[in-house]
């Protein structure tokens, strides 16, 4: 069990501890020790699967035939505005203090200003900005204000997964570093589901994210020690197969007996069963998941940096092995109040974010903002240093959104959201720049990304009004 309150090892101490197995992926780039991707995905096979060959690349595929990935990373409670936004605009801009850690990967970074989430604004719904910030971020629709009658909309990552998910073993990967739930009611009469889930596969089904590194790893590559996983996965699928018919039938006949609201629950069950069926089918087409030959991480580390780092590493590994092309990662839900003792800030993040103009508190929040960006920068660096199947870097063949549904945590504003777009989009994204889109729906960005993913027929998403140039 993880204990969030314990003071954590400082960075210096950590580097001396690198022999620890817990740092399995953090050390000298264990990811790099993976077998070359070429052996896993020959270009030809890839082209055949995706119909690549067109100049722009096919579905979730770059022009050079490599997989194209999209990831969304959420950070909580907004950012101190004055430290976030760059000076200068266009290509000729200067990163501000909060985004400084991105300097080393700057060529892959675009700072996007002026993107809004109007549906996160209170309006008639009143309070509950954290629940809204969190749920609206990837869905772009207004959450129904209710403690139990959940209704939102599908999120952009899941929309993409619907379209490109069949290309990989897992349609998508959802991660979080929120491993606990509070026992009380959540933000201002909103169902807790809104506050803890950024990914939604339907208006009523939040996609629960994995918070345990071991379980996330096993989901990707199977259980057991390196070398045993392929066999274990095969055994598991055989066992699954033997019961699927029965439970499917059982669910269908149960559904006949039930009333409307209950039917919805059974729908979720049936969707889950079908998902497993298609996974089994896909793996018989694609072969079992590639065993990355590293040790399975243990449970949840007590060190916050280690925890976040391992989750990011799992995303790297998932992309590197082409286990999925879509990922979302909630670093912490909006309104998160964990303490940052490990960087000398014992106060709770949310508590501090209502800084009321106090310079001391503002400085502390800014320091937390930087800390989150620094973890993100490490992730980007790893992606940049790993070669993809086409000889370009993983980062070149990815599109990664880093942002928050809150702009100014003190005021709970939801316009001019702090959003960074990293990666090369397989060469389709423009050069590093800072552009202010002047009050444009953030959903327009999502559409621009889904175009690049080769998704057709997605005319609108959430409150979109069009596309943005990126």
């Amino acid at each position: 069990m993880r204990d969030r309150y314990v003071e954590r090892t400082n960075i210096a101490a950590q580097s001396r501890e690198s022999f620890s197995r817990r740092h399995f992926l953090r050390g000298a780039g264990v990811c790099l020790a993976l077998p070359a991707l070429e052996s896993l995905l020959p270009d030809k096979a890839l082209a055949a699967v995706t119909g690549a060959g067109a100049k722009t690349g096919g579905l979730a595929t770059t022009a050079s035939g490599a997989p194209l990935r999209t990831a969304y990373v959420y950070f909580p409670n907004g950012a101190i505005q004055s430290n976030w936004w760059p000076t200068g605009t266009g290509l000729d801009y200067k990163l501000n203090s909060t985004l400084q850690p991105l300097e080393s990967v700057r060529e892959y970074v675009r700072v996007l200003g002026g993107l809004d989430h109007a549906c996160a604004v209170g309006g008639v719904d009143g309070g509950g900005d954290h629940a809204r910030a969190n749920s609206v971020f990837l869905s772009g629709v207004r959450a129904k204000k209710s403690a139990t009658d959940i209704h939102l909309g599908i999120s952009i990552d899941q929309m993409m997964a619907r379209q490109v998910g069949h290309l990989t073993r897992l349609p998508s990967l959802e991660l979080t570093c929120d491993d606990t739930r509070k026992a009380s009611a959540c933000d201002s009469d909103y169902a807790c589901a809104y506050q803890y889930n950024i990914s939604w596969s339907s208006p009523t089904t939040p996609v629960t994210a994995e918070a345990n590194p071991r379980l996330a790893f096993e989901r990707l590559f199977g259980t057991g020690a390196p070398g045993e996983r392929v066999a274990n996965s095969r055994r598991r699928q055989l066992a699954q197969k033997s019961v699927l018919d029965f439970v499917l039938d059982d669910a269908q006949s149960m559904q006949q007996r039930l009333a409307a609201n209950d039917k919805q629950k059974l729908d979720q069950y049936l969707t889950g069963v079908r998902e497993i069926e298609s996974r089994i089918q896909r793996s018989s087409q694609m072969g079992a998941a590639h065993d990355p030959n590293v040790e399975t991480p243990e449970g949840i580390p007590s060190d916050q940096a280690e925890y976040v780092g391992i989750m990011f590493d799992l995303m790297v590994l998932a992309f590197q092995t082409d286990s999925t092309r879509i990922a979302s990662f909630c670093l912490a839900h909006d309104g998160d109040n964990r303490s940052f003792s490990h960087i000398g800030i014992p106060e709770g993040h949310h508590d501090l974010s209502h800084h009321q103009g106090d310079p001391d508190r503002i400085a502390k929040v800014a320091k937390i903002d930087v800390w989150y960006v620094a973890q993100f920068a490490k992730f980007l660096t790893k992606l940049r240093d790993i070669k993809d199947v086409d000889g370009k870097s993983l980062l070149h063949n990815s599109m990664i959104v880093y942002g928050s549904g809150d702009a100014d945590g003190n005021r709970h504003s939801h316009d001019n959201l702090p959003i960074v777009l990293a990666g090369g989009g397989g060469g389709t994204l423009s050069q590093s720049s800072y552009v202010n889109y002047k009050s444009t729906p953030a959903c327009n960005l999502f559409l621009s990304l889904s175009d690049r993913m080769g998704i057709k027929n997605l005319e609108r998403f959430g409150d979109s009004t069009g596309r943005i140039k990126i």
Binding site: A118, G123, Q163, N261
Partner: protein, 907 residues
């Protein structure tokens, strides 16, 4: 067996109706063919003009009419009669504020009790349209087992512990509880985990062969230290408390431990070592000590290995041994390698257990002979553990008999797992599944049964709690009983067959409702038996008593009170002890640095052990009220609490004479501010920020969970509070000063004058729940005045006011919480009637816990459900179709985001 599910009908439709509709339509939306149309729907308006309006004029119009519109409420703006009755939101507020004494405000003329009742009854009868003779029991969305219930159910069904807290994601909560059907969603990932769990649970628990290689487990604790008399674990500075099965060897001290084992049969054996390398966490400091471990059997070396600190790593080694009959020795020798290196983290190697498997069957010829059952080779295999639990009889050899046996085993298991009788067709399918698996090469009869059990555990009938309704006969029989208990009208006769909209749930459903309420687990055999005989309702009181005295009822304490009072959160809530204590000049309680190796000197740790103790205190306290059937008012105010030595010291009750780890009831000193849940460190900490108290959170906690009058959420744009610091150049403003600056803003005042006084009353307790007199060298001023007018000087006074002047509100609040938890749904307007009945009982019985619990169990919503015809199912499907939740158009400049829009892409 008939299973109908209750469908949402009238209320959702009625609420959804807009003001333009005629009142006759509202009437039409009431469950059709109901013999129980509210008798006076049409008279509602007339009664309003005659009885209610004069009262509103007298007591409310001064602020809520004639152009004055306090809180956006103006009673004289209600023009037409229909819109009057449809204004549910308004009258919900009227009822709530009237009952909690918030309105009319203190100082204004107060209506008499009779006048209050007139208004209450009118709202219940005409706005909520409650028929007191046959009230709507509401409907519960089919409930998925949450992860606590899943683990408990598996334990009771199969007898093993499956760690759902690690393996399953956290369940989302609604209305403060994690067992609410509507929000217990099931994502594809969870579905996958359910399948995996079913597989791994069954393979762990259910033997797939009738004979297996014998295994002996030697627990670490049974190893003997050579030459040392000291109790084994103490030497390695391992925290005591729970009796450890393992043996810990310190990295810092040489030690040799050994165990003698007796081998009965000569042959090949497998020796499996289960070790781990542990440490105690110390921030910012690393321990560089190393040690060497040498493992020997009969003096011969098996393993020689060096260890650094390994961060809790589990170590697993296997060796093959040839052993003759007789005694053999096994020893572990630990050699420190780094004398002089600072010993910071109490590094230990733990011997968890050693498993000896054998004699193994190594040769193919032996295998064959064992298989044939021939006497060529002795068969030393044994019956696997738990075999009889799952296979009570020997497996018949004739296929027809086997089939019957399989049918019986699976039918029985499925019935218990589904918690109700299972149809023949399902059992036949499962048997076919089992036989299909058994027929595969290398498979056994047992293996087939096991796989059918996997299918049962993965079935929606296991994962969801399906409820049926009682047949006509049962309904008639049990009706009288229920009516007598619940005090409902005895002469009603319109509910005696299952064509009625509000039938009783069947006895299996009742058994599950009871067992998940009291045990968070499945019904036991006795409940099943009674349900099968249709005798459960008749024996409700006896059964509830029996269930409460069962150990499993601890679940009610942990899951209900743990969530209601949020004490569950104490184990994880972020608290920075150093920062908290730095706000006070001198905390009064101080833990001497026993075992505290931190170089910063002794300080109070808010560590795991303490958190567990605090949780334990809260659970013991609530459990005491439950099991001793005390008044629930003691949850607020009493002269006792539950402590062990550590906690007594933590609270500064050093003279209490409490020793040891055991918790016991302790009578507090007369002037003690403790006693009751509000002043437990657990509650005080979970309502704090990591470094400081939060009077707002605490005030909210009291309004939400004690007084049942939650304050509305804060406005979206909270104005900054810089002004609080003005004029205080030389010091920080106290929280009270900050808050009072806040209250000076009109948009904050109406709520904060309710929130702040109870919140500030707790300011004498810091964020760790420790008593303090000063903060930042300013004296704490805990006194205040509730919005209902009562003044107090500190928390003792407030607690007294709560139990003497606000007991009814507390009864109602607690009833609402327990009913929500018991039903697994949020309460609706029509539930007011059931709640009022229970509150009445509580008042009569002076708050005895049993009258609350029986009240809930015998209530209409717990006993009955709402069903509808097929036609209405279609209707309600429409009503639950996506509604658009458009934001305020004023705040928007772009097209409205409809839910439909973003699913435009083809799927």
């Amino acid at each position: 067996m008939q299973i109908f599910k209750c469908v949402k009908t009238s209320t959702s439709i009625a609420t959804a109706m807009t003001a333009g509709l005629l009142s006759t339509l509202v009437v039409a939306a009431i469950p059709p063919k109901s013999a129980s149309l509210p008798k006076s729907v049409n008279g509602g308006e007339a009664e309003f003009r005659k009885e209610i309006q004069p009262l509103l004029k007298k007591y409310c119009y001064a602020c809520h009419a004639g152009g004055v519109k306090s809180g956006s409420v103006a009673f004289d703006e209600i023009k037409s009669d229909p819109s009057l009755l449809e204004n549910r939101k308004l009258f919900q507020r009227v009822l709530k504020n009237l009952r909690s004494g918030i309105m009319p405000p203190v100082g204004a003329d107060q209506p008499s009790e009779a006048e209050k009742r007139t208004i209450e009854e009118w709202i219940k009868a005409h706005v909520y349209q409650i028929d007191p003779v046959n009230p709507d029991p509401g409907r519960v969305t089919v409930r998925r087992l949450n992860r606590v219930e899943y683990a408990n159910t598996i334990h009771d069904l199969i007898g093993i512990d499956y760690d759902t807290r690690t393996e399953f994601p956290a369940d989302d909560a609604g209305h403060g509880f994690d067992n609410i059907g509507d929000v217990l969603t099931l994502s594809p990932m969870l579905m996958e985990k359910y399948l995996d769990a079913a597989q791994s649970i069954v393979s762990k628990a259910v033997p797939t062969a009738s004979k297996v290689i014998a295994e002996t487990e030697i627990l670490g604790a049974s190893f003997q230290r050579e030459g040392a008399q000291i109790a084994s674990n103490k030497a390695a500075n391992v925290p005591t408390g729970n009796a450890a099965n393992f043996l810990a060897l310190s990295y810092y001290e040489p030690a040799t431990v050994s165990h003698a084992l007796q081998i009965e049969h000569p042959g090949s054996y497998q020796l499996i070592l289960d070790l781990s390398a542990n440490e105690r966490y110390v921030d910012n400091q690393v321990d560089y000590n190393r040690c060497r471990l040498v493992v020997k059997t009969d003096g011969q070396e098996l393993l020689r290995k060096e260890f650094n600190r390994e961060g809790g790593k589990r170590l697993h080694y296997e060796f093959d041994q040839k052993w003759q009959t007789g005694a053999h020795s096994l020893s572990f020798e630990l050699q420190p390698l780094t004398p002089g290196v600072e010993q910071i983290r109490s590094l230990t190697l733990r011997i968890n257990k050693v498993t000896v498997r054998g004699p193994l069957i190594t040769k193919a010829a032996d295998r064959a002979s064992v298989k044939e059952g021939s006497a060529k080779t002795a068969d030393y295999r044994v019956e696997p553990r738990n075999y009889r639990r799952f296979f009570p009889e020997p497996v018949p050899s004739a296929p027809a008999q086997r089939h019957i046996y399989a049918h019986k085993l699976i039918g029985d298991f499925a019935r218990r797992a589904f918690r109700r009788p299972v149809d023949e067709k399902s059992v036949a399918r499962l048997v076919a599944l089992a036989e299909g698996v058994s027929a595969q090469p290398g498979q056994t009869f047992e293996g087939g049964i096991a796989q059918a059990m996997v299918a049962v555990l993965a079935s929606p009938r296991f994962l969801f709690r399906e409820e049926g309704i009682a047949t006509a006969k049962n309904n008639q029989q049990s009706r009288r009983k229920i009516n007598q208990k619940s005090g409902l009208s005895k002469n009603e006769n319109h509910n005696h067959h299952n064509n009625q909209p509000y039938p009783l749930i069947d006895e299996y459903a009742l058994a599950s409702r009871l067992s998940y309420l009291l045990w968070s687990s499945m019904p036991d055999e006795e409940l099943f038996r009674l349900a099968g005989q249709g005798q459960l309702r008749k024996n409700l009181t006896v059964q509830v008593q029996r269930m409460l005295s069962d150990r499993r009822s601890e679940a009610l304490v942990q899951n209900f009170s743990g969530q209601w009072l949020q004490t569950r959160d104490i184990e994880k809530v972020p608290i920075d002890a150093r920062a908290v204590l730095s706000r006070e000049a001198a905390p009064i309680a101080f833990t001497p640095g026993s075992g505290d190796r931190n170089r910063r000197g002794p300080r109070i740790r808010f560590d795991d052990a303490l958190r567990k103790d605090l949780r334990h205190e809260a659970d013991s306290y609530f459990g005491y009220v439950v099991h001793e059937d005390r008044s629930v008012l003691e949850l607020i105010d009493s002269n006792y609490t539950f402590l062990n030595a550590r906690l007594a010291q933590y609270y500064g009750l050093n003279n209490s004479g409490v020793t040891g780890d055991e918790f016991r009831k302790v009578i507090l000193p007369p002037d003690s501010p403790r006693g009751g849940m509000l002043t437990m460190a657990s509650v005080l900490a979970v309502t704090s920020n990591p470094t400081r108290t939060s009077p707002v959170k605490r005030g909210l906690f009291i309004l939400d969970n004690i007084m049942g009058a939650p304050a509305p959420p804060p406005p979206p744009d909270i104005p900054p509070l810089e002004s609080a610091a003005v004029g205080l150049k030389n010091r920080k403003p106290t929280l009270r000063e900050v808050l009072s600056a806040h209250r000076n803003k009109p948009e904050c005042l109406s709520c904060h004058k309710r929130l702040d006084p109870p919140g500030l009353a707790l300011e004498n307790f810091n964020a760790m729940g420790l008593w303090r007199e000063r903060e930042f060298d300013q004296p704490i001023e805990p006194g205040g005045k509730l919005v209902t007018g009562e003044s107090f000087t500190d928390i003792r006074g407030l607690k007294h006011i709560l139990v003497t002047r606000h007991s009814t509100e507390f009864y109602r609040c607690l009833t609402e919480k327990l009913l929500t938890y018991a039903l697994g749904r949020g309460l609706e307007d029509y539930d007011v009637e059931a709640v009022d009945q229970i509150v009445k009982r509580l008042e009569q019985d002076k708050g005895q816990f049993s009258s609350l619990l029986t009240g809930v169990i015998e209530s209409v919503p717990f006993q009955k459900c709402r069903i509808v015809s097929v036609a209405e199912k279609t209707n309600s499907l429409k009503s639950t179709a996506p509604k658009s939740h458009l934001p305020d158009t004023k705040t928007r400049k772009r097209a409205a985001p409809l839910h439909k829009v973003n699913v435009a892409a083809k799927t």
